[in-house]
Amino acid sequence: MTFTQLSFYLFSAVLVFSAAMVITIKNPVKAALFLVLAFVNAAFVWMTLEAEFLAIVLILVYVGAVMVLFLFVVMMLDINLDRMREGFTRYLPIGGVIAVIMLAEMIWVLQKGSFSLANMPRPEPKPDGYSNTKELGQVLYTEYVYPFEIAAIILLVAIIAAIALTLRRRPGVRRQEPSAQVAVQAEDRLRVVSMKSEQPKRGDDK
């Protein structure tokens, strides 16, 4: 067994374990943290496949940004576990049917042999100085430039739609305008009046 194989088995074991914990653990915050662990281990497995760009981007985007916001929301929710479990028996048959269908689909796809060792040969180790990032960039901006741009537009539309859906304009809301607050000058708030100094009259301080 080589070191790469050993690390593959180690990372995969942790990945499967943490993925199982995500759906079985009761505490939603812990589930989110196990999902983070699963992502990190998936990135490690990709790293053993020499896909270092994708591995680092997985950590950067999913672990560093998406899951942070996810955790942020989950932490603030007050989830009542008893109420969530209420309809368990009622939804069990339909859930079970869906699970069986998905299982059958997966078995069917995997049995067709498209993932067999013959169809998935071991990738050739890349020579020294091979830059994964550069290769990916060159393909993305030449061969796949239109799919890439379309994906970007779809994401942009999704961002704008998310903002448009959640934006509420309520009348009569008092709000601060930081730009006005920052731009304020001393003259706007303070008037310096020049006046003659007064001599206190005798007996005034009584």
Binding site: F53, I56, L60, V63, V68, L71, F72, P178, S179
Partner: protein, 360 residues
């Protein structure tokens, strides 16, 4: 002589480990890597200790005080006194706190800030892992530090810690985007994600060829975002002691508190080193006749990092704390647009105007 001793030492340790059934080659590899890691980490830990000392001395000087001067000559042993005190103190775990997460949270902030040092080049040869996607790796590691803060705030079961964690998470996520875009500008100018290549792309006759000049807006955005990312004053609302006691680490005591402190200072040094590598020419001498070879390169890198680090301390002594909504406004509405505009400027100048050489 030294390298002979080194290979003898690593070989004999590997021999001992090989008795336990681990292949000798793996053991040797592991031992050597551990040695290199320690060679970076131990000086880093000492640097962290003396950054706390420098901070107290510098701020003391700025406020016309003396600063620590009791332990050792000129107070030089103060960091160790602090460390021993914190190690001997009891770690109090609050009632109903989540015990495991409460203990792991400080480690979650500390580990990424140390892990990022793996790819940082001290000179053009002295780098532990000279990887191609070094810049991405650094960005990924610095983005992980926020977990420790969020988890600490949540696991403490305290409203002040929780508020601090929420503030900090929102702030870090906001400034990370500006930081990432600033690095995109550096990447466009250097044409590489490798940190050694980025520094070497800045080589020239003097410090005017470093990226701080052509990428000046990005330099400012990156450094200020770095201050915000490390939760340092004036962006330290996450631990705003006048409002939420001490923020996310209010419930921490003893060594767990020390680890948060360590992580904060290690992050400061990391951000300073990255600013130096990306915008201030890394190990390159400020003028070409001051090039003293390998040792000189390390000297320039360390002294530039120390200079940038000094700004962190200076800021803390100088600026009042930002108001929270203004922090958010600065991150989202000022810094991110500036960086995007400058990226467009670099791109257009490179491809459509004769001024492209200015950025390379």
């Amino acid at each position: 002589m030294i390298s002979n001793f080194f290979s003898w030492l690593t070989n004999s340790i590997a021999d001992i480990i090989a008795w336990f059934g681990i292949p000798h080659e793996w053991a040797l590899n592991g031992i050597q890597n551990v040695f290199w890691v320690l060679l970076i980490l131990l000086p880093l830990l000492i640097a962290v200790a003396y950054t706390t000392y420098a901070e107290r001395k510098v701020i003391g000087f700025m406020q016309a005080r003396v600063g620590p001067n009791r332990v050792g000559p000129k107070g030089l042993l103060q960091p160790f006194a602090d460390l021993i005190k914190l190690m001997l103190k009891e770690v109090v775990i609050p009632t109903n706190a989540n015990r495991y997460l409460f203990i792991t949270a400080p480690l979650m902030t500390l580990i990424p800030s140390f892990a990022a040092w793996a790819v940082l080049p001290f000179t053009n040869k002295a780098v532990l892992a000279n990887i191609d996607a070094g810049l991405l790796y650094v960005l990924a590691m610095t983005s992980l530090g926020v977990y420790g803060i969020i988890v600490a705030g949540w696991a403490s079961n305290s409203k002040y810690a929780f508020l601090g964690a929420l503030r900090s998470a929102a702030q870090i996520v906001a400034y990370e985007i500006a930081m990432g875009f600033a690095l995109v500008g550096v990447l466009m100018a250097a044409g590489s994600l490798n940190l050694v290549d980025i520094v070497e792309a800045q080589a020239g006759r003097s410090f005017f060829s470093w990226y701080w000049l052509p990428l000046f807006p990005l330099f400012i955005v990156y450094f200020v975002s770095g201050v915000a990312e490390t939760n340092r004053a004036p962006f330290d609302v996450a631990e705003g002691e006048s409002e939420i006691v001490a923020g996310f680490h209010v419930e921490y005591s003893g060594i767990t508190f020390a680890l948060f402190f360590l992580a904060e200072y290690a992050n400061m040094i990391l951000i300073s080193a990255l600013t130096v590598l990306m915008f201030l020419g890394g190990w390159l001498p400020p003028v070409s006749f001051l090039d003293f070879g390998e040792v000189g390169n390390a000297f320039w890198f360390i002294s530039k990092t120390a200079l940038v680090l000094f700004f962190f301390l200076w800021f803390r002594a100088t600026f009042p704390r930002y108001r929270y909504d203004q922090i958010m406004r600065l991150g989202w509405k000022v810094f991110i647009p500036i960086t995007i505009i400058w990226i467009v400027v670099i791109g257009v100048a490179t491809f459509y105007t004769p001024f492209g050489g200015f950025f390379h």
